[in-house]
Symmetry: C5
Subunit: 326 residues, 5 copies
């Protein structure tokens, strides 16, 4: 679906069409120096992509990648066109889960093509924000690239913050006196952290390249802005590494607590058993058939025996309480 | 077994023979610039290899390696001839297992020799596909090298996807409430992942070399295609690394669940034991031989005792149920 | 809150104002060569930062970072101004906890702006110390940078030393014969060590840069001093790495001890059970109703039975003691 | 013990003496260009080494190392003489154990000194093989170096293959239904793998140096052969790394199985206990002394009680069988 | 305490004083080219260090480090003076413990200052050894540096060898059939290995620098000797890495054995319990009060019952023995 196609002339939008008109993909406007065209598509069909590829003369290998939503983040240069794949991440509160999407960008001298797969990051909003800042748009296609990366990485940081809260909850649950089976929760979190890492790690090298102006298209001033993005990316990556380490430690502690609890249970059970077994011995004794057992003939022999059982059990109970077995 | 031997002239096949004729190995056609000869062998005998080595003037060390099917992936240059060893992988659904084979390729200025060991990847199909695309074949021997690598790495991705499904199944089994012994399955998967890794990891450096046109034989345009292969290889390697990490976490969770289950079992058993032992105590008490035990002489003493036993057991049962022990 | 703003002329303080006057931020004094102005702020409002940024012409991205107290340590150059983010750490004895704050520094040719977030390190004291050493202040803004880094890293070492004591305590507790649940303590310490590492690790690269005079502003003599800071930083990082490894080993030992203790408990319980169950068997035997059981008719049959029970129990007790089960 | 000392003239042996004559060490023949002298010693005494060192003008530090059989593999250059330490490994089937020895080689322009410690690799055989291939010997001392390295690394591969079989056996044992204590076997194998690694790892750098002709003595042609050795070394190193990983996974699986077995044992024991305890309760009930217990007066009360016990036990047995506890 | 101060002229000692005279620190002799002065101090006071620093014009930062005995090993250059910190290690047999000390060395063109903290390595002995080898001393201050490093690293090797014996003992204890709690011993050894590593690892870089003659003061001939030291250092580091890995594996095996033993104990206990519980059931049966129980009236009913109990127990015992539970 082609979402938008506009020309940006001296930082101002010159609309070329709006929304879902397939013919829009083939609109190519001759650009004055400094101007550029930005076309945005969402979950495009093969045909839409083919039209756009043809219009902007994109490399077939990159177009093939752009049509597939399971790429890894990467930056590639085909002639004068940059091709950037970036994973989008967002946190869905209702499910405590991290969702992923993908944005592919073709950045040429005078055009930007953004191909979005999945939900999560609203590029239309990014575009509107950007259109309000003419002085940024004047920097041309790289400004769009920066704006999108900045937006995506900001979302990464929100995801990181949400995961930090989740890990805090797991921690609390592990160390609470309640008996909890936290291994499932820890596993799910580890899996999500791995997902974040797979989005973040491969993106660091492209951002570093932009930040150090290693690519010719980047000016020193633009590089400063990408340095900021790279720095945030580094922060996210350190946050998730740290969370991963904490989860591993929390899991170990969880295992230790299971063992400790089993030990406590065993001791409680044994103490409880003693409270039954000892009176049973007493009952057994007074069930013996000796001719001469004086207690049997006492008037209060039976209550005595019952009291003896209760007394011994109470004594044992007190002793176990004192020694921490009950 | 010599499978095929053909000359490619301006991207078109000029057949030199077909199939299992041992003399084919010695056929060497003088090539015009841009043309090349492609000979394919499958599980060759020492003699067949010797003939071919002689015909194409291959280095004895490389020929020795090509005759052995337990090489590690590597790229070596002997004079003007490249020698590439690549492991083939494919997933056999019936056995849930990854199988491995090997392809050795000698790539010269005007010839390609492909030596295949084991099943799995059908090079004849790759050759037919390639023959349909004359414009690719025109790029000469490196096009064949690319086509084979692309085919093999595509199969790696399929293997990776199949392993992802297997890991999902293990995950489900580990976290299902059923009692399962998943350690064998996890071990087997880890072993298969290690096998994939041993095929993928050493191949990355050769593909990177091609992708960056570090070798003189590679033009910038060809390099772009190898960059695509290298990227897919990187993706496979990240997938299996991720799966390996997930399996380790799943195994840890499995261990934790075993402990938790043992704990639950122990508590269930103890609670069950209490249901027997407490009535036994009561029976013991009424088995005592005191002269004065009023209950013994009650008309309904016996049913009273039985009811007492049942009542106490039911009380315990309710209490254990409530406290989660049963 | 603007804390202080002063001019340093030939190593001597020329006060420009003192304390919490917001207008101070806009005071900018023309500096003779070698002189510099140092303004210190603590938990500044957006407005205060904006005034200062305007006064000293600071880059907006750096100012944005400086207003946020959750940065990672980093060094960045914006034109001729260095921007350094450094985490402060200190150990609160009452809570056995490591606290963190942050200092942001802008260092230009003739000015220093220090922005402090959180408590812990008293920059006012550092400033007074420095003002007493005119020959250091004469080195200009980099002397201030050095003084702050040195102060902060000294505090890191104190934190490292405090953690060493904590780890020693954990160690003692793990290996004491007492039953202790050390997993929580170990987890908390690991978490704190991770915090220290996150402050220390990213700071090493900036300090190394200063120490090798990789930045033009640094003279060889100043570099020597930063080499000292970098060396201390390295020491802290080795200390916490070592502590982390020790904690992991201590945790493993803790797990082993839990298992060993469970085993001992199980044996103790079993031995204890035997002391009850064997006499119960004896009582059961003399409770049998055979017509001909000579012991039942002995005058001392009953005491004999009791003595037999006690004797067997004592024998078992001695045997269990000897074999280490009790 | 001096084993052999010969001159090689145009690839042909000119014997200078045979076997254990101590004076042989001092024999030094003037060599024509291309010729070289090869002296082999086995477990030499200090005196023998001193004589040889004197004869060939070897560096005292290298000679000291050569006299000691606990060196790590390394390559060092003393002036124009190369000094290579290489560990020999071989697998003793009877003991399922890896044994180690050591070969030290001094390689000069026109001489080779090989100093062998321990058993395992028969250099005399290598020498005879080499003497049969005059065209190799013509390459001079580096050919000897290659021949020895090739021989030693071939043996590494045999050791690797033997360890693979051992790991397969351990795997089978771990996953067999039988109760096995595999931890000792796994430990011993891990220890042997560590030994192999200590022989292989440090040797990779010297072989890489030879393979890339980084040393002036190596011609491109010779380098090709060393590349083959380096490749085999790499293969061994990957094999043992893989085995080490498999052993770790197998050990984890072993631990999991111990836990699972303990759990099964516990359930079996509990079920068995129930089969005894429930009849005991029944016996206890009919041992009560109530005046009015009709069953006691039944003609077939006793057989009824016994049948009740057996019936209840059989019922429990069936139930436990069905639910997998027995 | 100033231990010694001497001038070495053409490799021969010209004594300037002996032992604990504080004024010795200020003695500075003009040196002819090739001569040098060597002053040795042990646990110096601040004043002694200040005098020496003044006499030899040492950098205040280095002097501050030298006065503190908790430095990490490092090499620094202050102008023309090298400053080397090296940790000394030695093994105290009585306590099975590794002790640490520290040597700081200032090496200038014509002087060496050695500052020793703690016991363990006797520098006076090293000095006497060196004084006996005039041809070494003629190499000037670097010869002293070499001699001290060589001495210290030799001691590292002795420590490594002692730790190897300790690890062997632990191994034997872990795999002995006896029940041992080896976790404490393993922990202590791991801690000591970490200590060795902290002494060895940071020293490798300085030694490598000397060995490759990266520092201008080092001649190629001297470099050869430092290469020997660097090689020994490498050997120690590999030994302790290997020991650390073995200890981790041994610990894992220890854990596995605890589990196996617990399992065996549980089975033994259960079998033992069965030997008591089954006769108790028999006693219970003959304690029932049925009117018609023929055995009760047999003349030999009682012995029959006792024999039945013993017989059943013996049968169970044999069965448990056979199935490995007892």
């Amino acid at each position: 679906m082609i979402v938008d196609n506009a020309l940006y002339h001296q930082g101002k939008r010159v609309p070329l069409g709006e929304g879902d008109d397939q013919s829009l993909g083939a609109v190519r406007v001759p650009c004055a120096p400094g101007d550029f065209q930005w076309i945005g598509v969402h979950d495009p069909s093969r045909e839409e992509l083919a039209v756009i590829a043809d219009t902007f003369d994109l490399h077939p290998l990159a177009v093939e990648d752009a049509g597939d939503s399971h790429q890894r983040p990467k930056l590639e240069r085909y002639g004068r066109t940059l091709f950037l794949v970036i994973k989008t991440l967002w946190y869905v509160d209702e499910e405590d889960a991290v969702e992923t999407g993908e944005i592919n960008m073709f950045v040429g001298r005078d055009f930007v093509v953004t191909v979005r797969h999945g939900q999560g990051i609203d590029l239309a909003a990014s575009r509107r924000d950007l259109e309000d800042r003419a002085q940024v748009l004047e920097h041309g296609p790289m400004a769009v690239l920066y704006a999108v990366c900045d937006r995506v990485v900001d979302e990464y940081e929100r995801v990181g913050a949400a995961l930090e809260i989740d890990v805090d909850e797991v921690e609390e649950s592990v160390f609470s006196p309640a008996r909890t089976d936290d291994s499932t929760r820890i596993y799910v979190l580890k899996r999500e952290i791995a997902e974040v890492r797979r989005a973040v790690m491969p993106l660091r090298e492209p951002m570093r390249k932009f930040a150090t102006a290693a690519d010719d298209e980047i000016t020193a001033e633009t590089a400063t802005y990408f340095r900021d993005v790279a720095d945030h990316l580094q922060r996210v990556s350190e946050v998730v590494d740290n969370l991963d380490g904490l989860l591993s430690s929390a899991f170990d502690a969880h295992l230790a607590r299971i063992s400790v609890q089993q030990n406590e249970d065993m001791r409680k059970i044994s103490a409880g058993a003693a409270l039954i077994v000892v009176p049973t011995l007493i009952a057994g004794i007074y069930g013996m058939n000796f001719d001469h057992m004086p207690e049997l003939h006492w008037a209060y022999g039976y209550p005595f025996a019952l009291l003896l059982m209760v007394g011994v059990s109470l004594g044992l109970f007190a002793w176990f309480k004192k020694s921490g077995w009950l």
